[in-house]
C-alpha cells in the first residue's frame, strides 16, 4: 500500500458530496469479511464464523447509522471551509496572475474602465434627465398648455391673460391653471447694476407646482394690491447675492428701478426649467395694459390635472372652452386651439433623442470593449491550456477551474468598475461643463452635475455582469478537459478550433458595432456640415455683440432711449478698429416677438388668418455691421428722425405678400399700432431669426427712431479679432451710463456655436465621433490580434510550405483573405444594424435622410479598408518566417 492516494487526496480541491453511505458499507463489509476469513482460517465453519463476527461487532445497523451521520456532518463542514479557502486561493492566484502579466491587466482594466465609465456616465445622466426633470409633487399630473393656430398646427404660442382667466374658470379637468413669463431685469445689488433673469408668474403658481418656500411665506394672499411688490428669490440668488442671510425674508430689493420686498426664498432643489434659470420670481403686474389685452399672447400656462382625469379628457374639455371663446371674441380668438403637453415632455422632449442616441452609442462602446477584453481573455486562456491541463490532471475539477476564471474575471471587472466609476465622475463633470449655460439651464438635474450613487451602482452592476461573463467565457470556449492530448501536443497543435471561432465571432461583432458608431458619427457630421453651410443670411465673422438694457427713471421716455443708443453708436463707430456698428432689439438666432398685420389695399383678412411677422427694432448701420444683404430699396437712415413711418422687410415677407412684384412703396398696418400705416422702404435678405434649422419667417424691421427700444444688442463689425474690441466698447457704454449692465457679451461665431440647433448636433457628434474613434482602434487591435494569432498557429505549416517553394506573398494573401472575410461579415451585419438604428437619429439629423447612401458607403469603405490594412500588417510577418527555424520550433 502506497501513500500516493493520500497525496492525491490533498490535490482534490473540490469536494463533492460523496456517497458517504456507500463508503461506510464497504468499510464494514471489509471488516466482517476479514474477521470471517481469519476465523475460517482457524478451522471454524463459515456459518459459525459469520455469526461470531457479527456478534463481536455489536449492533451493525446502529453503527451504520452513526457512521453515516458523522461522515455527512464532516463532509458538510469540510465543504464549507474549502469553499472559502478556495475563494481566497483564487483571489490570490488572480492577483498573482495580474502581477505576472501587468500589460494584460492594464489593457483589460483600461478598456473596461473606459467602457464602464462611459456607459455609467450616460446612464446616470439619462436617468436623471428623464426621471428627475420635473422635481415637483405628483409630476405626472403637471401639464404645459400651449395655444395653437388652426392655420399651422405645429405652431405653439403663449396665451393672453384674459384667456388664461377664462380657461381657469370654465374648464373642469384641472385643479388649477397658472401662467409664467420669463423676463430679464436689472437688479441693483450693493450699488452695482447686474442683469438677471426673472420670471413673472400668476399668484398661485408655486401652489400649483406644490413648492413650499424654504424661508418666508410666498406671495401675500392679497396679490392684486400691495402684494404686487413682492419678490421670491431662488436659493442660488439668496446665497450669491443675499449672503445666505436667514432673515432675508422682508428685506428689500431694487429691480428695474422699483423697490420690491423679498417675501420668500425657494428651496435649493427648486428648478422649473421651462422658465430657464430665472433667479427672481415676480407677480404679474395687474396695472399693466397687457393684462386686459386678449390679443397679447405672453403668458405660458401650466396646469395640474384633477385626480382621475386623463390628459386627453382634460385637453378635450379645455378645447371646448377655447372654441366658446373663439365665438365670443372672434376678433382675437378665432382660429385658435389648445394643446396640452406633459410637463416632463416639455422639459426633456428635445434632449430625449440625443440622450437615447448617446446611451445606445455608449452601450455599443461597452459591448466593443467587452468583445476586446473577451478576445484577449480567450487568447490567454488558450495560451494557458497547458497549465490548466496539468491542474485537471492533478485532480482539479472542471467547475473548480471554471471558478478560477470567474474569480479572475470578477476581480478585473470590479477593479475596472471602480476605475469606471471614477471616470464616470470625471466624465459627468466634463460633459456638463461642455453644455452652454443657456442650454444647461433648460436641463435641470444636469446643472447640479454631481456624481450620484446611482451612477456608481450602475457602474458596479455593469462590472459584475461583465466579470461573470468573462469568467465563464474561457471555461465554455476553451476545451481544457482533455489533459492527455494537450499535455502531449503543446498548446498550438490544433484542438482549439472552437476558441478560434469564438474569437472570429467577437471580431466580426466588433467590426459591426464599430461601423454602427461610424455611421452615426457620419450622419451627424453631414447634418452639422449641411447646417453650418446653410445661408444664415448674415456674415458672422468679426462681429462682436453685447446687450444693453436701459432701466431707471432717466430712461423712461422713448426720446431718452433713442438719444442714448444714437450717441453710443456714434462713439463706438469712431473707435479705431471698428468697421461699422449697429444695434437690434434681437440679434439673429435669438428669436423675438411677432406682430400681426395686413397689407394696405388688401381686403381685411379673417382674424384667424392674419399674417404675422417677426419684428426687430434696429439702429445705426445694423444691416451693414451684420452683413445682411440689401435686395431692394434702401435701409434706415437719419431721415427716419422725421420722415413717414418706414419699415424694411425680408424677402420672405415680400414674396408672401407681393409675389414677384416690387414691395417698396407698399404699406402695412399692424394691429399693435392701429393708428399708422408703415411704408416699406427696402427689402433685405432672409436672416435666420430663430434657429438655424428652421425656415426663415416673415420679418419686419423698424427703426428705433420711430419705435423706441429700451433694450438692444450692439453688433460691431471689427477690422481685427472681435474679442479685442470688447473692453473698448464696454468703456464707451460705461462712459455714457455707468449704472447700465452690459451682458450677453459674445461674438456672432460663438452665438452660432452655442445656439441649440448647432449644439444639439455638435454635442452628440463630438461624443459619437470620440466613441467611434475608440471603437475603431479597438477593432483594429482585434483584427490584428486574430490574424497575428492565426499566423503563430500556422508558423510550422508555413515553414513547410516555404521550404517546398511557396511564394511568401501567397501566404500573406492567405492570411489577408481571412481578414477580408471577417471585415465583410462585420460590415454586412453593421450596415443592417446601422440602417435599423439610424431612425433613432432622425430627430437631430438635418438636411439628410437617416439612410444616407453616401454615409453608409463611406463608412463601410473605411471599415473594410482598416480591416484589410490591419490584417495585412499582421500577415506581413509571414514573409519573414525562416523555414528551417519554423519547422524545428516545435
Amino acid at each position: 500500500m502506497s501513500l500516493l492516494p493520500g497525496i492525491r487526496r490533498l490535490f482534490r480541491l473540490a469536494v463533492r458530496q460523496r456517497a458517504v453511505a456507500r463508503d461506510v458499507d464497504e468499510e464494514l463489509a471489509f471488516h466482517l469479511n476479514a474477521k470471517i476469513e481469519e476465523l475460517v482460517g482457524q478451522g471454524i465453519p463459515r456459518s459459525q464464523a459469520e455469526r461470531i463476527a457479527r456478534r463481536e461487532f455489536g449492533d451493525l445497523g446502529l453503527a451504520r447509522k452513526e457512521l453515516v451521520a458523522i461522515g455527512q456532518r464532516g463532509d458538510a463542514r469540510r465543504w464549507r471551509r474549502e469553499r472559502w479557502q478556495n475563494l481566497g486561493q483564487d483571489v490570490l492566484f488572480a492577483f498573482r496572475l495580474m502581477r505576472r502579466q501587468p500589460g494584460f491587466a492594464a489593457v483589460v482594466l483600461l478598456t473596461l474602465g473606459i467602457g464602464i465609465g462611459a456607459s455609467a456616465t450616460m446612464v446616470g445622466i439619462t436617468r436623471r434627465a428623464l426621471t428627475q426633470s420635473v422635481p415637483f409633487r405628483d409630476p405626472d399630473r403637471l401639464l404645459h398648455l400651449w395655444m395653437t393656430r388652426d392655420e399651422d398646427p405645429l405652431e405653439r404660442s403663449e396665451a393672453s391673460y384674459p384667456d388664461l382667466v377664462d380657461w381657469q374658470t370654465q374648464s373642469r379637468g384641472f385643479i388649477g391653471i397658472e401662467g409664467y413669463n420669463p423676463t430679464n431685469l436689472t437688479a441693483e445689488l450693493g450699488g452695482v447694476p447686474i442683469r438677471i433673469r426673472g420670471t413673472v408668474v400668476t399668484p398661485r403658481f408655486f401652489d400649483l407646482l406644490g413648492v413650499r418656500p424654504a424661508l418666508g411665506t410666498g406671495f401675500p394672499p392679497d396679490s392684486t394690491g400691495a402684494g404686487a411688490s413682492a419678490v421670491i428669490v431662488t436659493h442660488g440668488f439668496w446665497t450669491r447675492h443675499l449672503g445666505s442671510d436667514p432673515s432675508a425674508a422682508g428685506s428689500s430689493l431694487t429691480l428695474d428701478g422699483a423697490v420690491y420686498t423679498v417675501t420668500a426664498v425657494l428651496p435649493a432643489s427648486f428648478q422649473f426649467s421651462p422658465a430657464g434659470d430665472g433667479e427672481v420670481w415676480l407677480l404679474v403686474d395687474y396695472a399693466a395694459r397687457r393684462m386686459s389685452e386678449r390679443f397679447n399672447h405672453w403668458l405660458r400656462p401650466i396646469a395640474r390635472l384633477r385626480e382621475g382625469v386623463s390628459r386627453e379628457a382634460a385637453e378635450a374639455d379645455l378645447a371646448l372652452v377655447v372654441r366658446r371663446l373663439a365665438v365670443a371674441y372672434p376678433e382675437t380668438n378665432q382660429g385658435r386651439g389648445v394643446m396640452a403637453v406633459s410637463l416632463r415632455d416639455e422639459v426633456v422632449g428635445k434632449v430625449r433623442p440625443i440622450l437615447l442616441t448617446l446611451l445606445a452609442a455608449v452601450t455599443v462602446m461597452l459591448l466593443i470593449a467587452c468583445a476586446n477584453v473577451a478576445s484577449l481573455y480567450l487568447a490567454r486562456a488558450l495560451a494557458r491550456r497547458q497549465e490548466l491541463a496539468i491542474r485537471v490532471a492533478l485532480g482539479a475539477s472542471r467547475p473548480r477551474v471554471a471558478r478560477q476564471f470567474v474569480v479572475e474575471g470578477l476581480l478585473l471587472a470590479l477593479i475596472g468598475g471602480v476605475a469606471g466609476a471614477m471616470l464616470a465622475r470625471l466624465g459627468t463633470t466634463l460633459l456638463v461643463r461642455a453644455i452652454p449655460e443657456g442650454i444647461r439651464a433648460g436641463l435641470p438635474t444636469l446643472a447640479t452635475g454631481a456624481m450620484d450613487w446611482g451612477t456608481v451602482a450602475v457602474a458596479m452592476g455593469i462590472a459584475l455582469i461583465v466579470g461573470v461573463a468573462f469568467g465563464l467565457l474561457p471555461a465554455v470556449a476553451v476545451p481544457f478537459g482533455a489533459p492527455a492530448g494537450v499535455l502531449r501536443g503543446g498548446p498550438r497543435s490544433g484542438g482549439d478550433r472552437s476558441g478560434n471561432r469564438f474569437r472570429d465571432a467577437l471580431v466580426v461583432g466588433e467590426i459591426a458595432l464599430t461601423l454602427v458608431l461610424l455611421v452615426g458619427a457620419g450622419l451627424l457630421t453631414r447634418s452639422l456640415v449641411t447646417l453650418l453651410r446653410t445661408d444664415a443670411g448674415f456674415a458672422a465673422e468679426r462681429v462682436m455683440t453685447m446687450r444693453i438694457a436701459l432701466a431707471g427713471p432717466e430712461y423712461e421716455r422713448g426720446e431718452a432711449q433713442q438719444r442714448f443708443f444714437e450717441t453710443l453708436l456714434q462713439r463706438v463707430g469712431s473707435l479705431p478698429g471698428v468697421e461699422s456698428v449697429g444695434a437690434a432689439s434681437n440679434l439673429p438666432l435669438n428669436g423675438g416677438g411677432t406682430n400681426t398685420f395686413r397689407a394696405e389695399g388688401a381686403p381685411e383678412p379673417d382674424p384667424a388668418r392674419r399674417p404675422d411677422a417677426v419684428v426687430r427694432g434696429v439702429a445705426g448701420a445694423y444691416f451693414d455691421a451684420m452683413g445682411i444683404r440689401i435686395v431692394e430699396g434702401r435701409v434706415f437712415g437719419v431721415s427716419e428722425r422725421s420722415g413717414v413711418p418706414a419699415i424694411v422687410v425680408n424677402q420672405t415677407l415680400a414674396r408672401q405678400l407681393f409675389g414677384s412684384g416690387s414691395a417698396t412703396g407698399r404699406r402695412l398696418r399692424f394691429y399693435a399700432f392701429p393708428d399708422s400705416a408703415w411704408e416699406i422702404v427696402g427689402v433685405v435678405g432672409d436672416v435666420k431669426t430663430g434657429t438655424l434649422d428652421a425656415p426663415v419667417p416673415a420679418t419686419v424691421y423698424f427703426s428705433h427712431l420711430q419705435a423706441a427700444e429700451n433694450r438692444m444688442s450692439l453688433a460691431v463689425r471689427t477690422v481685427g479679432r472681435p474679442e479685442r474690441m470688447t473692453a473698448a466698447i464696454r468703456q464707451e457704454v460705461a462712459a455714457l451710463g455707468p449704472e447700465l449692465p452690459v451682458y450677453a457679451v459674445s461674438t456672432m461665431k460663438e452665438q452660432i456655436a452655442g445656439s441649440p440647433a448647432v449644439f444639439f448636433r455638435r454635442f452628440p457628434l463630438v461624443l459619437l465621433a470620440a466613441l467611434a474613434l475608440g471603437a475603431l482602434v479597438l477593432a483594429i487591435v482585434g483584427v490584428y490580434g486574430v490574424i497575428a494569432y492565426a499566423l503563430t498557429q500556422r508558423t510550422r505549416e508555413f515553414g513547410v510550405r516555404l521550404a517546398l517553394g511557396a511564394a511568401p506573398g501567397s501566404l500573406v494573401r492567405l492570411l489577408i483573405r481571412r481578414g477580408v472575410f471577417l471585415g465583410l461579415a462585420g460590415t454586412a451585419i453593421g450596415l443592417a444594424v446601422a440602417m435599423l438604428g439610424a431612425r433613432l437619429l432622425d430627430a437631430i439629423l438635418y438636411g439628410i435622410a437617416p439612410i444616407d447612401p453616401l454615409t453608409l458607403a463611406g463608412t463601410s469603405a473605411l471599415m473594410l479598408g482598416v480591416t484589410v490594412a490591419a490584417s495585412g500588417l499582421a500577415a506581413w510577418r509571414a514573409t519573414r518566417i525562416d523555414p528551417a527555424g519554423a519547422m524545428r520550433a516545435e
Partner: protein
C-alpha cells in the same frame, strides 16, 4: 474461552487507536486486531465503538482516511495519523499516564 473483560474508560479508546496508527496506516480491522493483541484480550473493544471512534477522529482531522488495497488485495479504508493526531496522541499519552499513576498510587497506599 473465559477472559477477564474490562469496560473502557472514557477517552481510552481514542488514545489506543492513535497509538495503533502511530506505527503506520492501518485499516479498521487491523487496528482492532492490534489493540486486542497488545492488550492480550484484556480490554473489551466492541468493533462498533471502534469504528465510531475512528470516524469521529477523522472528522476532527486527527486521522485521515484513504482507500487502498489490503494484503490480500481487497479494497480497504486505511487510516493514518495527521500532524494534529500526532499532537493529540502526545497530549493524551501524557494525560493518561499521570491519570493512571494517580489512580495507582491511591489504590496502593490505601
Amino acid at each position: 474461552m473465559a477472559r477477564p473483560e474490562l469496560d473502557l474508560l472514557q477517552g481510552t479508546l481514542d488514545v489506543l487507536i492513535l497509538k495503533a496508527l502511530s506505527w503506520g496506516p492501518r485499516h479498521g480491522y487491523a487496528v482492532a486486531k492490534w489493540i486486542k493483541e497488545r492488550t492480550g484480550g484484556v480490554l473489551l473493544v466492541e468493533d462498533r465503538a471502534l469504528y465510531v471512534a475512528l470516524h469521529r477522529m477523522e472528522a476532527r482531522e486527527w486521522i485521515a482516511a484513504e482507500w487502498g488495497l489490503s494484503d490480500n488485495n481487497r479494497k480497504a479504508k486505511y487510516y493514518l495519523l495527521t500532524a494534529a493526531g500526532r499532537r493529540a496522541l502526545r497530549d493524551k499519552h501524557g494525560a493518561w499516564c499521570s491519570y493512571a499513576a494517580a489512580v495507582a498510587s491511591v489504590l496502593e497506599t490505601g
